[in-house]
Structures are given as C-alpha cells and as structure tokens.
Symmetry: D2
Subunit: 383 residues, 4 copies
C-alpha cells in the first residue's frame, strides 16, 4: 500500500478490446461525441433486425423514478458491415451519438474523487488526461454499445435455438423466486423476462424491490442485487480448456461491467460447502439424450458445456453515486475534502444491468461457438 | 438441452494460451510424456531461483492421508530462456516429465464418464480422440507447470515488494479466522501462509478441517472449500478498463483452474446486499498517501487498483473423484451404467489448490504490470 | 486449382484488426455510410494536431488529371479518446463520412468480376453478401482511415525525432534518383518529400512520370511503380525475434495495402546475388556511436534495428481499373463475359499510395516501440 | 541514427508467438538444452506421421561439403497432444534436444559482434543477458522445430490435396528453369522437389550452383539466392482482407526466417513495370471452373485466393558467417576490433532454407483455412 501515489507519473494505455474469434473494439466517453463498438468476425448473410437492437436498448434505458433522469435517444447507427439488411462478413461499426451532455455538473467537482468510482484510479493511470466528465470511458454509458453488439449475438443464438434469460434474484435484500427446474416452464420464464423491463419472476417481490429502491432514492442512497442468468439449449462440447473455459470466458466479460463484484456458476459458493457425493451430477440417458439428474455444476464440466442449462449468478454492488455527503480527497491538492454529488444518478442499476449481462453472455458464447464450429455454422446460405 | 449428442460429430480445437503481455502456452497430459509451459514475454536479467520454484512445487504436492497417493518428483527442467541463472528475455520453457503413469487404472473404465469430470464433455468436443487417461489435458496435473510459471511471477512481484498470500478461509464448512486488517500483521500472516503446507491461520480450525477431510476420505467422499487471497502493495493505477480490468483478468485465470466455481472481489456477493452509503470506501490522506477508510471494494475501483490490498475469494468444489458408486453413462454405448472409481485420488484439493490460485493471481498481475509500466520495470540492469 | 468454385457455399469472417500493443480495428465500405478506425493503446497526454492529420489526408487525395475524379472532403471526425486537444489514453475512434456515393455506376455491372480486383474472391468468401459497390470493404477508400491513424503515429515518432519519408523510385519504368547516403542531406530530402504531393526527388523524372501516367490515362490503361521508404533515427534494439521482427511486422502491414505485390528490406533481392563478404555491413565506432560502414541490410540485423536507417522498397502493381474491354466471368451465371469498366478511376496510384505506406510503417514502428519501451516513452508529463 | 547506444539500458521482451487460429509458441537456443515449439489449435483425429516429420527434418539438415559440419540427430520428441498416433485436439509440444554443443568456439569471441548477425542488436535489446552462444534464440537452429511444426501442416494440407513445393530459382547468380505453367507437370515437379535435398529443376544449374557454393567455401566466403514456391489447389476464397491477407500472413512468416530480405507474390517487382492491361489476369470458365488466362497476380486478388496457383519468391541473403577477417566492434569496450570467425558454418543456406519456407507457408495457410472453414474441415471422423 505504500507508494500508491508516487507512481502517478507513470502513464499507460488501456485495452478495450476482447474476443478470440469475435473481436469487439469499444470506444467512447460518457460526455464525448459518441460511444460505439466495432465487431469484427461475424459471418456473412446474417439478417440484422434494427427493431430488436432497439428493443434491447430500451431494456437498458433509465425509466421512471427508480432510474437516472438523464434521457438519451440511444439510437444505434450502423456505419458499416450491413448491406441490404444482412451482415456482409466485414466489420460492423455500431455508433450511438451522445445528446444529453450536461457537462457543467462535472466541471464543478472535477477534482473531488467520487468514492468507489474510477475517478481516483483513472487519474493515477492516465496522469490526469482522462475525460473526467461523467466517468469518461469508465461510464456505464459504455454499456450501451455493448447491448447493441449483444443484440446481434442474442439474435444469432436464437437462430440456433440457444436462449439466454435473466431475472433479478435479489435486490436490496429482497429475494425473487427461483427459475423453474422444468425446461418447458423455464423456457416460458426466459421468454417473459426478455420482455420485462424490471425482470422479476414474482410480482410481489418485484413490488417490494421497487419500493426499496424508491426508499433508497428518497434517502439519497442506493442499493445493489444479484442477477441470475440461464442459457438453454447450448450444445454439449462448447468451451475450451483452461483459459478459455466457459467460466473463464464469461467471467472475464461479466466482470468487465463496472458494478460486478462476484460471479458464480451452478451452485457456486454453495458448492464449496457440499460433499462430492452431493455435488456430483450423475449422468443418465433420457429419451436418447444425455442429461444429468441434478445440475449443481451449472451445465459445465471441465470448462465445457454438457448440454444442461448454464446457470450463472452475478453480484452487482449498489450504485456508488449517492447524494449523501462523503469523505474524499482532492486530486489537485491531495488534501482531504468533502463531496456532495449532484447531477442525475440511479438509486439502483440492477434492473438495467440485467440486459448488459445477457449481452456479455451472448458475446462470449458466440465467440466460443465460432471457435468450436467455425463461422459456417452461423452464415447465411449462398445467395 | 436437445441435440447435445447429435453434434458429437463436430470437432474443434482448444486454446491453452493466455496473456496479453506475458504469453503462456500450456501443454501436456496427465499420463503423457510430460507437462509444461512456454512463457514468452519476461524481461532479460531477472534472477531465476530454482529452489523457490521447487518450494512452490512442494506446496502443490500431495502429502499425507488427506491427499492422493500418486507421488511425482515434479522436478522442473528449464529447457530455454535462462542463461547463467538469469532470464535472457527470450521464451522460457519449463518441463516436468511424468513418472508415475499407472495407466491401467483408467483403461478399465475408460468408457464410463466420471460425473462432474470432463470425460463426457471432452469426448463430445474431441470426437473421442482425447487422451482419456487420468483426465488427459484436463487433469489437475496441468496445474504443476502453472505453479512453476507462477513461481517466476511471484518472485518478480516480490522484487517490487508486491506480496501475494492466501489461506483456506473455509473447508468442509469449517471457517478459519479472517486475515488481519492491520497491514503489518497482514504482511506477517502472508509470509506465514506462504511457508505453510495446509494454509490456515487458526490452528484449531486447521485441525478440525483436516479431521473433516480424513472423515470424508474414510467415507469414500470428498469436501470443498473457499480460499481467500490478498495482494499487498500493488501500486494504484494498475488494470485496464472493461475486458482487462483486474477483476476480468484475474477471474479468467482463476476460473481456468478446474474446480473453481465462484470468484468474488472485496465483499463480493455481500456487497449486493449493502446500501451505497455503506459499500462506498471513503478516500482520505494518511501520512501523505491516499488510503480508503474501509475496503469493501477489495482495492479495485473501476477495474483499476487504488493502492489498498486486493481481496479475492475463490470457491473450490469438492473433488469429483469419490469412491462411492455413481450413476453415469457409457460413452461407447450411450447406455446407463454404474461407476465405481478406483485409482489414487484426493478427498480434498483446497489446500493444494491454494498455491495454484496464488500462481494465477501472480501471472495475471505481471501481465497487467507490464501493460502499465512496460518491461523495463522488471528488467535487470545492463550487464 | 480444382474445386475453387464448389466451395462457394462456405462462408467465413474477416479480421480487419492488427497490432500487438497498438490495436487497430478498421471498418467501412467504399459506398457505405462511413469509413473509420478505432485505435486502442496510445498513451495519455499526447497532443493531437488535426491540421497534420488533414495534411496527410490531402497527400492521399486524388488531384489533377493523373487521379480519379471522385472528390471526397475526407474530413476526419474524432469521436472519442481525445480531450482538450490531448489523447486521454482510451480508444480513439476516427471516422470519415462518405459523401460522393455514385452507386449506380456499380449496380449496372455488379455481376461482372473486374479482373485483378477482389470482386470474384470476395464473392466466393462472403457467399454473395459483400457490399459490391466500389469494392466495398476492399476499396482503396479504406486506406483513408489508415492514413489518419498513421498521422497520429508519425506525429508521435517525430516527437522522438524518428523520421519516415518516401519517394517514388520508379513509376511506369522511369527511375528517380536514390535517397542520399549522407544523413544530413537525407533528412532534408525526407522533409521535402513529406511536403510534396507527387514525391519524386529528381524534377525531370517527376515530369516524365507524370507524362507517362497521362499517356496511360489517355489509352484507358494504368501504370505501377516502386516506393522507397526510409526511417531515420530509429534506436538500436527495436524489433522482436521471429514473427515480430521489423521485417515481419512491416511487411504484414505493407502487404495489407491492396496493390502491393513485393516488399524488400535493404538491398533485398539484390542481396541474393552478392557474396557474404560484400553483403555484410562492418561495424565501427564513429563519434562514440556504433555505425555500419555500408547498409546493405537496411538497418536491420536478426530482425532488430541496429541504429542505421531502415530502408524499404515496396512494389505497387498498376491499378486494375482500366477502361479497355476485358474478358471476365459473370458471377450470377458463371459464364464468360466482356467487361468495360466505367466510373472514376486512377491511371496510377503510386503517388497516392506513398502516404499510405508511410502510415503503415509508422503504425508498425509505434507498435514495436511500445513493446520495447512501454507506453511511458510516449506519454505526456503528469498534469 | 543518433543515440542508438544510449538506450542500451532499456530492456524488453520478445514475442516468439504467432497465429490467429493455429498458435505457435517457439522456444530454445542454439546451445541450450533443447529447441521446440508448442502448437495449439489443431483439430482432433489427425494422423501424425513421425517418418514424414523426420523426412522434412532431413531436408533441413546440413549435408556434404556445402553445409556446416555441425551434426545433430534432430530427433523430434512429441511430448504431448498426440495419442495412439492421432492428434488429440490439445496442444502439441515438439522438442528437439541439442546434442552438439561446442560452446567453447563462441566464448572466445563472445564480445566481437559478427557483422550482419544479431549479436549487436540482441545485446542492445537484452542488455547483455542473451545467450550469446551460436546466436542463442536467433540461431538458424530455431528453424528446426518450425520444420517439425510445418511437417504437421504440410501433411494436413496434403490430406486436402493442397500441395506446396519450392525450388532454388537462383543461387550465386545461377538461374534454374522456371516451374511449368502446365498444372499436371507442375504437380510432378512439386512432387520431385519435395524428395530432393538440393531442390533445383535443371540438373545442369544444380551442378553449377553447387560448384559456386564449393568455390565460395574455399574462399571463406558465402552466397545467397532466391527460392520460388508454389501452392497448388488452394480453394478460392481463402485469406482475410487487409492485415490478414494471404500476402500479409505469408510475408510475416517468411520474413521471420533470419536470412530473408525480400518477398514477392506473382510477378512481384516486375508487376510494378507493367501496364494494367498487361498485368490484369482475365477470368474465364474452363471445364466448369473459374480460371485466369494468365497468373501475374500469383493466385491472389485483394488478398484472397482465386483458385489459381499461389506463386511466391523469397530472397535469401548470403550467410553472414564467413571466414574472412571482418571489421567490427567489441561489445564490452565499444572499440573497433577485427573478427575472424571460427566454428562450423554454411557457405550457403538457400537449399536448407527451402524446407523452412515451405513450412512457413504451410503454417500460414492452415491458419487461414481454419479461419475460413473452421476446425471441422481438418478433424478426423468421430471415433
């Protein structure tokens, strides 16, 4: 912990690029001209549905009192890689111009590092040259192009009957019901969640969660939660050993979302308290297919899918932007200071984060599926 | 979940390669000629200490009744990249020849997929061509070269006073004490854990854990646990935004270890139940340095280090190799079958996994530190 | 050569991404909405000079009778990564909107594969889904964002006194004088070439070349040539062994430019006719510095710079778009056909390609310099 | 050129890793314990033929008076990734132990930088920590594992009827005949060259070349040459745009071989003197297949294969190890010095380099073919 300040003089770069087969290159800042992403590696001949992209963008948008009041049209402009409604096979650039740029809120307190935000760490890393307005490149706004990219991937997976869905299994300490173990019902629940803005299975839990968020907002405070995601119909044999296992691939993507602080697969931390005889999932044949009787391992053995549903839980910390006075330091003088955040902020982002997590999972799985089956698997028939 | 079998006819590759700055290329199988790793990207002029490598290898070795009876010399042979005791700056190949290859144990039951192992999934992925003996490339044996590579990285970090240590904070449901919040004491605890084979802070907890493991062994069963790791003195400003954040980088590496099913940073899943006013870590100046009053976020803001200790918890599932009869399928006939595992297996691998996790964390941090400071930071002075 | 058609049914992706340290992700099509590039990996605090970017764009623009009549403003819009005139250290997106989109020229003959263009090969690769207008993603127009990215890199190198310059050493069979062997004069020549649109050292050769181009234009034909490039003041010790040697790195980038069909370093193919005693460059000390008496190897030994000028020659084939009738096939019917190209085309692109090659060299060297010195070398001082 | 010495204090890494789909990680030094390569990304179920690997190793071995007298068994040991004669789909490590380590030859003159070798540049780069014996990691000996890896790839390509062959089209100024334009005869010539140690089409040219080499040897001198390579039956549509075009991919690999100073595709530098009407290759249908009437572009349009033979010429400089006294500097004192090389060296390496170039081409094409068709294309049928 010594010397953390003395290396403020060291500069470096950042790498907002991911993917072995499907390359994503993310760009933009919260209050810059635009945010966007270049997607390199999708097959030609895939239909692109702008209305589905917009549907996903809308799930991420702030709505009502439980969200920030910043309003962005979030209209996705396709700059390249799509021709006559289909992917060409060449890089796709998706761009969203920023419209609501109230930068003056930030200039006022630009030297006061917001606790648990990237203000201090980015200042250390970028030597003070970072765009400090609204978190710059570290803003949650950067998840907008990721949702757009994720929409392309979700669409692609759906064309192979691979379905992804999530619900808020806990918000502000209030628990939702679990996803059903019955595949037919689970499929219906996924479908319902994908159409719901505040994705909770149990309506009563939903109401209590929203009340708790409203309560936190009134107190100038914020709350967090846990998102449970499930992937249905992923074929067995997907995922690479070691560094590109399903867990490695998806956790890297999920943890890249700002507020995520924990990820577990299957029964996760609960597995660590079981015995092997309880934790092992016995194989058996069912209607000519291989299944497991239980699914404690979340559909993954040795990093590779076994054909059962992939189960993931992701912990989202409470939004760090709160309106209560906070102790901090001044980055210009390195003296203690008090901060009172103004501007427009979310008392809870768990419900908005849900669609971001779905997108990250979809991006990771498309990457692994291309690695496994090659591009042909997704391409359109020859014209 | 349909069709998981029908694509048994699709082949693919695997990628046992990792790292943006420090490239690791892992190879080998449990019962093949050798396991090893090529490390490309270390600076020249770094002293290599074979005795420290061996010390780390010994922490990973099975010992006593609580481990497998397979005994390997695990002598690491340096094939390249080290000259007159120093790194040359060119690729380092570390190789460990396999000696104890009792393959016959496996041939007998090679078609019976061991539940929660990679037998079924690897068979799907590799079309039946995988080396099935002892899990082949998916064996825990592959962590031996990772520990050797990690030893180089741990040594390198130590030369910069960056210290990594772990303890078993839970095994078989028995909890250890927490790491101290006091930096001086924490440093001493890290040092102590790094010299201890069964790394538990509280001797009573240690004894109970070992009794529980012994108990599980007698029942032909196994247990899991949680490892808590801490990184001390990591400078502020390390980590890249998004896909190469500290959390993304380390979780990718940690989840690549076979038995890991959950990873959290700072208070992790517990953060998801806090309010922002509790979860935020206020900054303040202390003896001319920036510190935070609490450390709920585990020393990471926006994916970048803030100079406070990095805190990580990793969930390890119980070893899937148990001696009780298990239901499974026959991979040759796709019929239900019963399996009774023989051979030599661990009733618990949490204590052996500890040094593997330390190694993965070290590898990830060296990668990020090179990205931040360039190679010069680690290189020896010109000869 | 058999079966080249039968796999028309196989689709695939493309990867328009490059760089180990400095990631470039290129996007766009000739007649799409925009072309652009995301540059990830530049240090923070580097001054960005839009007027220099525009200067370079102007060197690439068609001018006069010796070029295509397509006129584009080629105004580079910086979408991200630059704040208050300086790089932030986060990804830079440079976008150029397409304005002059006379697509109808192409629709007419879209099924007639232009010989030596990518029409047929892209149709095979992308199953007919490629944007065929003006070559789509394969158009020379994609070199515009590369020149913009190259301008950032050239500027960066200049700040370290590393200078790149090129002249047309041969066009239409007419030879220019050679670059001077005297460093002071060479520096002056580089400077002069960097300000010259049609970069030829000898004015008489320049005039003859332009006459030959004009002649070719009148005949509906085209001509090619050779560009000689030189890099001055590159420190010794830059370049990686094997796959990332200076030659490997730069040739990969140079051959990515459409019309390039040959690359040589130092005396290149002429070296293959020398004896070792002639080809070797003896070392000696000169004013306390290491120099070589000759420079047949173009400043590179074992793939690494030795401090002498880097010398590169790049062969550019004649523009394939000619106005004479050509034999070809119809991609819709796979029958023989005759093609008469219309539209706006260059009778020679060697002079315009020059600045593209300079850009590619600059991009490659910044990549290798970051690998060698880390980012700090280029970063601005802490604010 | 200034300051090339002053940064002798800067250290860095090297990256001996290549490939987008097929990862190669090369390791070893000329006089270290072993040289080798890890190959990650080959499909499962591919038969491995050790005798073909050895056949290729033998083509690379020094033989007779025209080669170095260093004799190595060059026995390739397969450490992993092959099981029961087939690839498993997991990483393959090929290792060759060094036997003939006459290090004392080098210790004597270790501070005298051999002109046109990597001695000086490696010393700058690695701060003096490099293994100086016999060029260390920069030795031609490192091409041995590349030939072994190339053998796997050549074998793989052959299983798809994709054939690669080369001849020495010029050695010491003496020209060989050209490859035949007739496909049937070309196929026969490729086959013949692949069985010939000194691969020249015309026996008289062969004899003259060998006499010239012998002559150079007697004079303590060396000679260079040009290798012409051809790829037959590569399907149309292979290669990525821009940075991963066939030319970019293959040139990066070819230039990674130490002595290569020039690479051209099709008519290469000669194309730069043609007019477009001569240089363009008209398409036409022939027996239901697309062909071009001429092949000036070497089977590549826009970086992608068109189904015609790929044609490549590679310039190899004369071996820098000559026995005549040479002027150089002393790396310990930075003073002028005279060097007289001893030890065992080749007066010509063009004939031995041939099989290395074939290997590099094969490695590059397998990488591009996996990118295009996915792994399934190469995998064995399900067991």
């Amino acid at each position: 912990m010594e010397d953390n300040q003395s290396d403020a003089g060291k500069g470096t770069t950042m790498k907002s690029t991911i993917g072995n087969q499907l390359h994503l290159s993310l760009f933009g800042e919260s209050h810059g001209a635009a945010v966007g992403v270049v997607i390199d590696g999708l097959a030609p001949g895939i239909p692109v549905h702008p209305e589905f992209i917009q549907h996903q963008m809308d799930l991420r948008k702030p709505k009502g009192k439980i969200s920030t009041q910043r309003q962005e049209a979030d209209q996705v402009r396709i700059l390249s890689g799509v021709f006559e409604g289909m992917t060409t096979g060449t890089p796709i650039c998706l761009m969203i111009e920023n419209q609501s740029q109230q930068s003056r809120d930030y200039a006022k307190s630009k030297d006061l590092a917001r606790p648990s935000h990237a203000d201090y760490t980015a200042n250390e890393k970028y030597r003070g040259y970072q765009d400090y307005r609204g978190g710059g490149h570290f803003s949650g706004r950067l998840t907008a192009p990721l949702v757009a990219a994720g929409a392309l991937c979700l669409d692609l997976l759906k064309s192979k009957d691979i379905l992804i869905g999530s619900h808020l299994c806990q918000v502000a300490g209030i628990e939702d019901d679990s996803f059903s173990a019955d595949f037919k019902q689970l499929k219906e629940e996924i479908s319902r969640m994908n159409e719901t803005y505040f994705a909770v299975l149990n309506p009563k839990a939903q109401q209590k969660m929203q009340e708790a968020i409203e309560q936190a907002r009134k107190q100038g405070d914020s709350v967090g939660g846990v998102v449970e995601s499930v992937v249905l119909h992923l074929p067995a044999g997907v995922g690479e050993p070691f560094f590109h296992s399903i867990e490695s691939t998806l956790s890297q993507l999920l943890f890249s979302v700002g507020a995520v602080k924990g990820v577990e697969f299957g029964d996760g931390f609960a597995l660590a308290r079981m015995t092997g005889s309880k934790a092992n999932d016995p194989f058996r044949m069912e209607n000519g297919r291989v299944v497991t009787s239980t699914n404690h391992n979340g559909g993954i053995n040795g990093g590779i899918s076994n054909g059962m549903p992939i189960r993931i839980k992701t912990a989202i910390k409470p939004t760090p932007s709160i309106y209560q006075p906070q102790q901090t330091i001044n980055l210009a003088t390195y003296e203690n200071a008090e901060l009172k955040i103004e501007g427009r902020h979310d008392p809870c982002i768990v419900h908005r984060a849900r669609v971001v997590l779905d997108s990250m999972i979809a991006i990771g799985l498309v990457d692994l599926l291309i690695e496994r089956y090659g591009l042909m698997w997704f391409a359109g028939d020859p014209k």
